[in-house]
Symmetry: C2
Subunit: 459 residues, 2 copies
Amino acid sequence: MSKPIDEFRRSAHQIVDWIADYLEDPRQYPVSPNMQPGDLAAKLPPAAPETGEGYDRILEDFQRLVLPAVTHWNHPRFLAYFPSSASPPGVLGEMLTAALNTNAIVWRSSPASTELEAVTMGWLRQWLGLPEEFFGIIYDTASMGTVHAIAAAREMADPESRNKGMQRGLTLYCSEQAHSSVEKGAIALGIGRENVRKIPVDAEFRLRPEALAEAIEADKKAGLRPFCVVATVGTTSFAAVDPVAAIADIAEKHGLWLHIDAAYAGAAAILPELSWILEGAARAHSVVMNPHKWLFTPSDLSAFFTRRPDLLRQAFTLVPEYLRTGHEGLNINPMDYSLAMGRRFRSLKLWFVMRYYGRQGVMEILRRHIGYAKRIAAAVDADPRFERVAPVHFALVCFRYKGSNEDNARLVERVNATGKTFLWHTELNGQLVIRFSIGNIGTTEQDVDEVWQLIQCSV
Amino acid sequence: MSKPIDEFRRSAHQIVDWIADYLEDPRQYPVSPNMQPGDLAAKLPPAAPETGEGYDRILEDFQRLVLPAVTHWNHPRFLAYFPSSASPPGVLGEMLTAALNTNAIVWRSSPASTELEAVTMGWLRQWLGLPEEFFGIIYDTASMGTVHAIAAAREMADPESRNKGMQRGLTLYCSEQAHSSVEKGAIALGIGRENVRKIPVDAEFRLRPEALAEAIEADKKAGLRPFCVVATVGTTSFAAVDPVAAIADIAEKHGLWLHIDAAYAGAAAILPELSWILEGAARAHSVVMNPHKWLFTPSDLSAFFTRRPDLLRQAFTLVPEYLRTGHEGLNINPMDYSLAMGRRFRSLKLWFVMRYYGRQGVMEILRRHIGYAKRIAAAVDADPRFERVAPVHFALVCFRYKGSNEDNARLVERVNATGKTFLWHTELNGQLVIRFSIGNIGTTEQDVDEVWQLIQCSV
């Protein structure tokens, strides 16, 4: 009988070959599966096995049952949401992270993870053009980054709430196009949904600074306490860029915490020609951007930067005796800055990605994606049956078929049902809008052209 | 020139061989590194490379710089905190998760992940002996599970806070031995630290139900609103088991949400001889346990169960137009139950682990660990220089050298400095207590015996 580790080694090599084939060309799979809710669950046993099974059987079921139920985010023609890429260097990093399985609760529990996180966050900070005073930390998702930002903002405005609990009256501002995580975070933290002011946007879906200023003034007059404003760089629906500098002026005037949600578009600030999108961000209190969106890093890895780590720490530190290490004074223990105590060695995959591509390599891919988007935008503009609804700064093209919502919905459905692409939609003043969202490292000009033709032929 | 995917394939195979060697015997490495904060960071370049580098250079730096800074959680003699295991099947699952890189925001965005998560949570629920009405969902950490539980509890007690924001007066209960995440969660959610009542424990570190009842009565008399109690099954310092059934009686009488933090010890409920630890849990509103602790699943994967998914959903659902799928009525979209919107395909590794070991295999490992702990407990009891401070139900032995705190601290330091093991401590009434915490799948009787000898020889 072979040793268990030999069985692992054999299966792991098999899996590597499968992964290499898969990453080389996921086009052999339909982008999204043709199935109904419950189809996969119905094929799986209702209880776990009583005795162990071999890797071969598990892998066979993975191929036969699980894989056909996968929506392939990694497919070059996956054009829904904001795409993500399991880049080859990112996958290598994940393999090592899984094997080491460290937990960076405190520096001592995983010095390598704690320090590589600090180093890679420093590298990324420079790429984004943020000043040195910004402290970086990795969370799982931008939603969590935003929760941490709002909590730190509350700590600045109302330090009493930490001990005594929240009282009503704190108000938070974002545009009506901000990500739902802003509102969700505010609800969770006890701010209350009614105290989230959704500021109107201009014709290009950007927060209107004068409307923000008015809302703050009105709330102050009403005896409320404005404490935080969230600006978005690359909104979820249309990738709009809020005017950060103008918002920073207002935030400074009223002493508000300014958080920038650059989850999607932040990566584009690496390009000199797009560095304007983070102009004024140096005056923000916090910035979140997701390497697991447009920086080719497998999920999850969201980068959070703040120039007030003292307040973030004040909001989240609680050191039980069983975690005292004598390093408390150095403020290097990740758990002091985080709601989650456990912490995977996430920075390893980012380190692989940043080193493998380098800044030039990353810029080349970003520019390629943006070029494709401009190409599709031009094609949309050239077809009188369609109308574009938002400017293209990044790699997202938003447009609609000049027909009813039902026409547009059916169009998306028909296109997706081919399995040749996967698109999703959003909404604008009650009208359904199709999003053509590019971002996978494998996407080619031919991919986007063929998807556009498919759309044209499916009306 | 070879194709990039060939380079990936070659490096991935190299990494698999390294991982197999590593998992077979991590004993070649010191358990924790001999270094000072900043040592690794000082060796890494202050900026990311301008142009890309090859995998060989990155892997060389991983071996030369990163690896020597790793605390080896995977080492069979890692006996700190609560150990975790990168089991071989768990690592295989992680490899596939990284490659697929799906994001189960909604069912549609990753049917395979959404359904396999539901199925594996059902399997685990059965292993733990929880009734069918419990709905399961995966979060990253138990800290986050507890935050979700407290938020759902608030939704039950004070549904107005979702819209209007928190008002002071809600009070939460846990034992003085509860994990710091309870308090941290209450602070984040706006409950306030002062409104967390830390109920005294008995001689075996279990929450005293009569003290809980008194505290609730007193708060009610004072006009406060008790809304949630957290019972712990396997406390962090001493692995004590709060009397769940007695606490459930009190929670029911006062209409409180009962959350059970079984992050560590929950896995032991799989053993018939230890199923008593979750007696009464069927009456709880929520239970959290961590497969990434004592169920051989690489981090992160925390299992959360609730019999009130309606309230959890009510607390966390917010569906923006760009995520509407037409499946809202089925309540199958993970983001409706979660603060984080993104979601890795975490269930895949748990599916590998549960199938590879089966229930019998898991029980065999758990019993082996518990047997080692009882063996060490007996050895401690037999050495008059030491005293044991807590009963051993699981795989944690807590004891102290009969000397000063400095003696005990120096003892731990001396033992850890050998690199042959890594122990950590906790505190009891101002006294430092050594924790001998077993839980890695590779740990043998010889390992625990030799570490105990090392401790004896280091006094």
